[in-house]
C-alpha cells in the first residue's frame, strides 16, 4: 500500500507538470510566433514479485507473474512546431514565415539565436525584434522610409527605387524539436537539434509574407480541454493516496 501512495504521488507530479505546460501555452496564446509545448510520459519500472507460498510459475528466472508498477515519469517536453495562424497587419516590417525555418538574430554576446517572431523595428538601419535583438544579414541603412520597403516572398529587401538592402535568410535544423528555448521567443542550437542549415527559399516550400504576422499555434479550446483532463487526473491520483491512507488507518485499528 505504501508503494501505491508513491505511485500516485508520481502521477500527481506528472499532472502538475502538465498543468504548468498548459498554463504557459495559454499565457502565450497571443505571443507572436510562439510554439506550444506538450508533456510526454512513460510508465516507470515494474517490480516483479511473488507472495511466498504461491504456486511456482513457468516464467523463467526467479521472477513471478505478479508485478507492481511504480508510477509514471515525464520523458520530455516537446515543442510542437506546427504552423501558427497568419494574421494580416499591413505593417511593412511585419514578416510571417509560411512554412519551415527560423529568422536568425544576434544576441548581446554576439552569438546567434533563432526565432519565428517576425515583428521587426528599424533603428539606425538595423532591423530589431521586439525584444531588441538585431536581425542577421539585412541592413536598411539609407532607406527614406520603412514604408518604402518591399520584402519579397524569397526574402529580398528592396525599396521602390530598386535599391537592394540584402536578403532575410531563413535557417532550419534537422530536428527543430531539439532546439533550446531561452525565452524572448528565441531558440538556441543544441546537440539535439543538429547543425543549422540555411534554407534556399527558391527551392523549399517556404515563403515570407510582408505585412503579416504569425500568431501562436496555441488552440485555446484544446488547451482548456487538456486543463480539465489534467485537473481530473490529478484528483484521481489523490484518491489513490486517500484510499491508501484510509487503509493504513484501518491497519492501525487492528490493535486495540
Amino acid at each position: 500500500m505504501i508503494t501505491g501512495m508513491y505511485s500516485a504521488a508520481t502521477g500527481m507530479n506528472a499532472q502538475q507538470h502538465k498543468l504548468d505546460t498548459i498554463a504557459n501555452n495559454l499565457a502565450n496564446v497571443d505571443t507572436t510566433g510562439f510554439k506550444k509545448s506538450r508533456n510526454e510520459f512513460a510508465d516507470l519500472f515494474y517490480v516483479y514479485a511473488k507472495q511466498t507460498g504461491s504456486p511456482e510459475s513457468d516464467i523463467s528466472g526467479s521472477e513471478g507473474p505478479v508485478y507492481t508498477g511504480l508510477g509514471v515519469r515525464e520523458v520530455r517536453t516537446t515543442r510542437l512546431y506546427t504552423q501558427g495562424n497568419i494574421e494580416k497587419t499591413e505593417r511593412p516590417l511585419d514578416v510571417a514565415i509560411n512554412g519551415q525555418g527560423f529568422f536568425r538574430v544576434i544576441l548581446d554576446n554576439g552569438g546567434p539565436a533563432y526565432t519565428r517572431d517576425g515583428a521587426f523595428h528599424e533603428k539606425d538601419g538595423t532591423l530589431y525584434t521586439s525584444a531588441g535583438h538585431a536581425l542577421d544579414g539585412v541592413s536598411v541603412d539609407g532607406v527614406a522610409s520603412v514604408y518604402d520597403l518591399i520584402i519579397t516572398q524569397d526574402g529580398f529587401v528592396t525599396d521602390s527605387a530598386g535599391v537592394n538592402y540584402g536578403q532575410i535568410a531563413l535557417y532550419d535544423f534537422t530536428n527543430p524539436e531539439g532546439l533550446k528555448s531561452i525565452g524572448d521567443n528565441l531558440y538556441l542550437e543544441s546537440d539535439q537539434s543538429g547543425e543549422v542549415n540555411a534554407l534556399n527559399l527558391g527551392l523549399v516550400n517556404t515563403t515570407l509574407a510582408q505585412g503579416f504576422l504569425e500568431k501562436s499555434n496555441v488552440n485555446a479550446v484544446q488547451e482548456m480541454v487538456n486543463m480539465i483532463s489534467a485537473q481530473r487526473a490529478y484528483e484521481l491520483n489523490s484518491k489513490s493516496i486517500t484510499t491508501a491512507d484510509n487503509m493504513l488507518q484501518t491497519v492501525n485499528g487492528l490493535k486495540r
Binding site: 501505491g4 506528472a14 509514471v72 510542437l80 530536428n175 481530473r232 484510509n246 487503509m247 491497519v251 485499528g253
Partner: protein
C-alpha cells in the same frame, strides 16, 4: 480461530496489492499507449476437512467439506484493449489501431515493443521515441528522415514521393505473455512467442493512442479495495475479541 486471523490478513494483503496496481494505472492515465493492469486472485491451500471418529482407527475419517485458507495473488495481467486515439496533426505521431506493436531498438541493441505513438527526430535525423531509442522498419532498419514524410495505414513511409521503407508493426500469438519493463516497453517472453508479421493493425499518422485506463473502473477498484480491507479488518478484530474471551474470561467464575 487463530487460523481465521491469518486468512483475513491474507485478504488484507490482496487488497493492498490491488490498490498498488490501481494507483499505477491512475498515475499513467496520461501516458501515451499505456495498457492498464489487473490482478487475478486465487484461493490458497484448498484442502479437505475430516471428522475423525476414533483416534486409533485410521479408517474412521469422514470428509466434512472443503476449507480454504485465504486468498493469494495469482498473477498480474495487462489488459490490451484499444485506447482512444487523439488527433494532433503532428508529423511524427503515429497511433496504432488494432493489436499490433511498434518495434524499438535501444542503443544497446535490445529489442522492445511499444504502443507509444509519440516519435521524434533526433539530431542525426533518425526517428526515435522519447527515450531516444530507434523505431525499426520491417527489414529491421532504423528510419532516417530526409524529407517530409507520409505514413500510410499499412506503415509504408513515403518521403518526397519515394517509398523509403515500412514501419514494422508486429503481433504476438499470446500478447498477454508480454512482459512490461517500463518506459512504455514490452519484452517478449517464452509465453508471448516470437513477434509475427501483422496484417490487421492500421497506422494512423498525426494521432497517438491514449492510455486505456478507465477512471470509473479504477475508482470502483479503489472503493471495493478499501471496503473489503475494512471488512477483513473487522474479521480480525472479532477473532481477537473471541481470543480475548477465551484467554481472559473462560475459567473465571
Amino acid at each position: 480461530m487463530i487460523r481465521g486471523i491469518y486468512t483475513a490478513a491474507m485478504g488484507m494483503l490482496a487488497e493492498e496489492a490491488r490498490v498498488n496496481t490501481t494507483a499505477n494505472n491512475l498515475a499513467n492515465v496520461e501516458t501515451a499507449g499505456f495498457k492498464k493492469d489487473t490482478l487475478a486472485f486465487s484461493t490458497y491451500l484448498k484442502r479437505e476437512m475430516f471428522r475423525t471418529e476414533s483416534l486409533t482407527d485410521e479408517q474412521k475419517r469422514y470428509a466434512i467439506g472443503k476449507m480454504e485458507s485465504g486468498v493469494v495473488l495469482d498473477e498480474s495481467q495487462t489488459y490490451f484493449s484499444q485506447g482512444s486515439i487523439v488527433q494532433t496533426g503532428r508529423e511524427y505521431d503515429f497511433a496504432l489501431n488494432g493489436e499490433g506493436f511498434f518495434t524499438v531498438e535501444t542503443t544497446d541493441g535490445d529489442r522492445y515493443f511499444t504502443r507509444n505513438g509519440q516519435w521524434h527526430r533526433n539530431h542525426e535525423g533518425y526517428l526515435v521515441d522519447g527515450s531516444g531509442n530507434f523505431l525499426l522498419t520491417d527489414s529491421d532498419e532504423r528510419i532516417m528522415i530526409t524529407d517530409q514524410m507520409r505514413v500510410s495505414s499499412n506503415g509504408a513511409i513515403t518521403q518526397n514521393g519515394v517509398l523509403t521503407g515500412r514501419i514494422a508493426v508486429v503481433e504476438f500469438e499470446e500478447q498477454t505473455g508480454l512482459r512490461k519493463v517500463g518506459d512504455n516497453y514490452y519484452a517478449q517472453t517464452s509465453f508471448s512467442g516470437e513477434p509475427g508479421q501483422n496484417f490487421t493493425s492500421q497506422v494512423i499518422q498525426g494521432a497517438y493512442e491514449r492510455a486505456n485506463v478507465n477512471a470509473v473502473r479504477e475508482m470502483l477498484n479503489l472503493i471495493t479495495a478499501q471496503r473489503h480491507f475494512e471488512i477483513t479488518q473487522r474479521v480480525i478484530t472479532t477473532e481477537d475479541q473471541l481470543l480475548d474471551a477465551a484467554v481472559n474470561r473462560v475459567g473465571r467464575v
